[in-house]
């Protein structure tokens, strides 16, 4: 009886909470892994695009836009931003000799500018966004806030849609072909540079969507991009740079490790466990759990 009680009262709530966090991290990591897998660009400003999505949700909610409309409107509004960033900035250094270093520095610089712009526009304080649903559900004696359940549900749908488009549609096949061999693909008449810009825009939109979804849970503030980006990078590295399913599995695994470890050690100390796992993967299995989209 005591064990059942422990599972119901202590273990299960902790694991469900870990699942909600896992979905949140995967949502942020999804855009990151797509941009890396296809464009071979390590997007250091991804966290700030996530923050822009959250601030967008905050601003639109203030003028009375419904949360469900925000879910579609914010990603749509952010797509042109992503498109322009790719066309105007990334493209300029994309063909340079050391693409990794130059795009990493470029996007890092961009992240600093974006964060300071948010601070200048909205001030340093934390803002609250109300969740569209309140209250909690009682699942077999486990109390879970409704919004976390909703987050898990929407997160699963988004992940499945992205995976379906990438692996099961003609568009996805074209995109994967462009990333595998862009010269061969363009010789077949595919506008590869537009595909690249479009993919970057989709990655940025996904970051924006994550921002909208996570704003009610984690509040909105200018430096919010930093909070998730380290965890998201660990997920992308452990999962295998560019692999969608890798990111999903790594995201779920790492957050469960974090959730269960925080039962016995202070939650503050679970970060070293997560980053330690990432370092171990970099040492012994640098390609991560799975390959990358273009090479899968």
């Amino acid at each position: 009886m005591e064990i059942v009680d422990y599972i119901q009262f202590v273990l299960a709530p902790q694991m469900i909470n870990g699942l909600a966090l896992g979905i949140a991290v995967i949502l942020v990591a999804l855009g990151l892994t797509i941009i890396f897998g296809l464009l071979d660009v390590i997007n250091m400003s991804h966290g700030e695009f996530y923050a822009i999505g959250a601030f967008g949700a905050l601003s639109l909610a203030l003028v009375g836009v419904n949360f469900w409309i925000l879910l579609a409107a914010v990603p749509l509004l952010m797509a042109p931003l992503g498109f322009l960033v790719e066309r105007l900035l990334i493209r300029r250094v994309f063909d340079s000799k050391d693409r990794h270093v130059s795009t990493l520095l470029l996007t890092f610089g961009l992240s600093l500018i974006l964060e300071d712009t948010l601070r200048a526009l909205y001030g340093p304080n934390t803002h609250r966004v109300d969740a569209p649903v309140s209250g909690a559900s009682d699942l077999f004696g486990i109390i879970v806030p409704n919004y976390r359940l909703l987050l898990i549900a929407i997160g699963v749908i988004v992940i499945c849609v992205v995976a379906f488009v990438t692996y099961r549609t003609r568009l996805g096949a074209v995109v994967r072909a462009a990333s595998y061999d862009r010269f061969m693909t363009s010789s077949l008449g595919v506008p590869v540079s537009w595909i690249y810009a479009g993919t970057f825009a989709v990655g940025v939109s996904l970051a924006g969507l994550a921002g909208v979804l996570l704003a009610p849970l984690y509040s909105v503030f200018p430096t919010m991009g930093r909070d998730f980006i380290l965890l998201a990078f660990s997920v992308v590295i452990v999962g295998g740079m560019g692999s969608i399913w890798g990111a999903v599995i790594a995201g779920l695994l790492l957050t469960q490790v974090q959730a269960l470890a925080s039962l016995v050690i202070s939650p503050v100390w679970t970060d070293p466990i997560v980053f330690g796992t990432m370092v171990v993967f970099l040492m012994f299995r640098p390609q991560g759990l799975f390959g990358r989209i273009g090479h899968a």
Binding site: Y6, V10, P13, Q14, L21, T126, A259, S262, P267, V268
Partner: protein, 392 residues
């Protein structure tokens, strides 16, 4: 609100200039205030500012300090020790302030205390709880005008020991000087009053999601949760505890700064039944307090809280000390402050000469229907522990 603040500030400045020139009143006395005006603790800095502004106006209208008007100079501490030190340095060096107060983060108070010592000036806090400020890390140049963690915890645990002798308490503190100190003080008080502590956990200041800490709370199965978070952290912690159903079978107790008039509305129904050991409630039934609450409400349209009352009282202690010393000279004012007793909205306060810590009566306050009801009190001498400062 902005308008009221501006009007109030203008009133202070105006009265500074409009004062009749007495022979003594060559210059205004400049007091620096380094307090959080943005961030997690903005809700704490605001009442500090208002308490000081109200006292400054009253004192200036009544003729100032020994004929000299008071000017307050505000800087944003951002609840960040390194920012606090920069701002304090500027106030000491550039503005040449005579006295400094306002720090909220205990780390800021300790750092500014050291800075005051190097500059041979006086600094003070009316908010920071960490015991070390007037114990092992005490400074002859640093005064504390509010009740520290030990005084609050003693009051709270003596009440728990009496009213809920079988309580199993779990402590959650912010992960820095104040949080660690307040939970340690809780444990010390609990040992004296035979209250069981079943666990403790510390979350970083300004945590957005406390749910990852709930696993340890659940495993310990407490019936009472103690917390010393403050400002917006309180709003998030209590809302999330409520959302995850933990408040269904536990009650909340905590430090005096956790729920105040400033964040009460945002905390909402999770505040009902909250119990704390504190130095102040707006409902204290004394003449001084009624006068203070009336004036504060008239000026800012809200009830004062602990931080406002302590900051308001501070300025009157400083006035008494400067008038007794006959100057704002650091050594003379320090001597005058030590052992000083004065009347405040919280009752009579005395600065203990041995460690620069204010002694005051403590109250047990319970929040019911949004009111801070006083349900018990503890004498000043009982709540304060021995003087642990060995530096002076």
């Amino acid at each position: 609100m902005e308008n009221i603040k501006r009007t109030a500030a203008a009133a202070v400045i105006f009265s500074a200039f409009a004062a009749p020139s007495v022979a003594l009143a060559a210059d205004a006395i400049k007091i620096g205030v380094v307090t959080p005006l943005s961030g997690t603790y903005a809700a704490v800095g605001q009442p500090v500012r208002w308490g000081l502004e109200l006292a400054a106006r009253e004192i200036n209208v009544a003729g100032g300090v020994g004929g000299r008007q008071i000017t307050l100079i505000f800087e944003d501490e951002e609840a960040n020790p390194s920012v606090a030190v920069q701002k304090a340095e500027r106030l000491f060096q550039v503005e040449n302030v005579d006295f400094l107060t306002g720090m909220v983060n205990s780390g800021s108070t300790l750092a500014v205390g050291q800075l005051a010592e190097r500059n041979n000036k006086l600094a003070s806090t009316t908010v920071s709880f960490a015991d070390s400020i007037t114990a092992e890390k005490c400074s002859p140049n640093l005064f504390r005008f509010n009740a520290r963690a030990e005084q609050q915890s003693y009051a709270l645990t003596s009440w728990l020991g009496k009213e809920r002798p079988k309580a199993k308490v779990f402590g959650i503190g912010p992960d820095y000087e104040m949080g660690r100190s307040s939970v340690a003080a809780l444990k010390a008080g609990a040992a004296k009053n035979k209250v069981a502590i079943v666990g403790e956990v510390f979350a970083p200041l300004d945590s957005k999601d406390y749910s990852q800490y709930f696993g340890q709370i659940r495993s310990a199965r407490p019936d009472t949760i103690y917390t010393s978070v403050a400002g917006n952290d309180t709003v998030r912690l209590l809302t999330q505890l409520d959302e995850f159903g933990i408040l269904r079978n536990t009650s909340i107790v905590g430090s005096s700064g956790t729920i105040t008039s400033q964040n009460l509305a945002a905390v909402g129904k999770a505040s009902e039944g909250y119990i704390t050991g504190t130095g102040y409630s707006p409902k204290l039934d004394t003449t001084e307090n009624k006068k203070f609450v009336g004036a504060y409400r008239a000026m800012f349209k809200v009830d004062p809280d602990l931080f406002a009352a302590d900051s308001y009282s501070l300025l009157y202690a400083y006035k008494a000390a400067v008038e007794k010393a006959g100057s704002t000279d650091t050594d003379k004012v320090r001597d005058a402050l030590r052992g000083l007793s004065w009347q405040t909205p919280e009752g009579e306060k005395t600065i203990r000469a041995g460690d620069n810590q204010a002694m005051q009566p403590m109250y047990i306050v319970k929040i019911s229907k949004g009111q801070f009801d006083v349900v018990g009190d503890v004498r000043a001498e009982d709540a304060i522990g021995p003087d642990q400062c060995t530096r002076f």
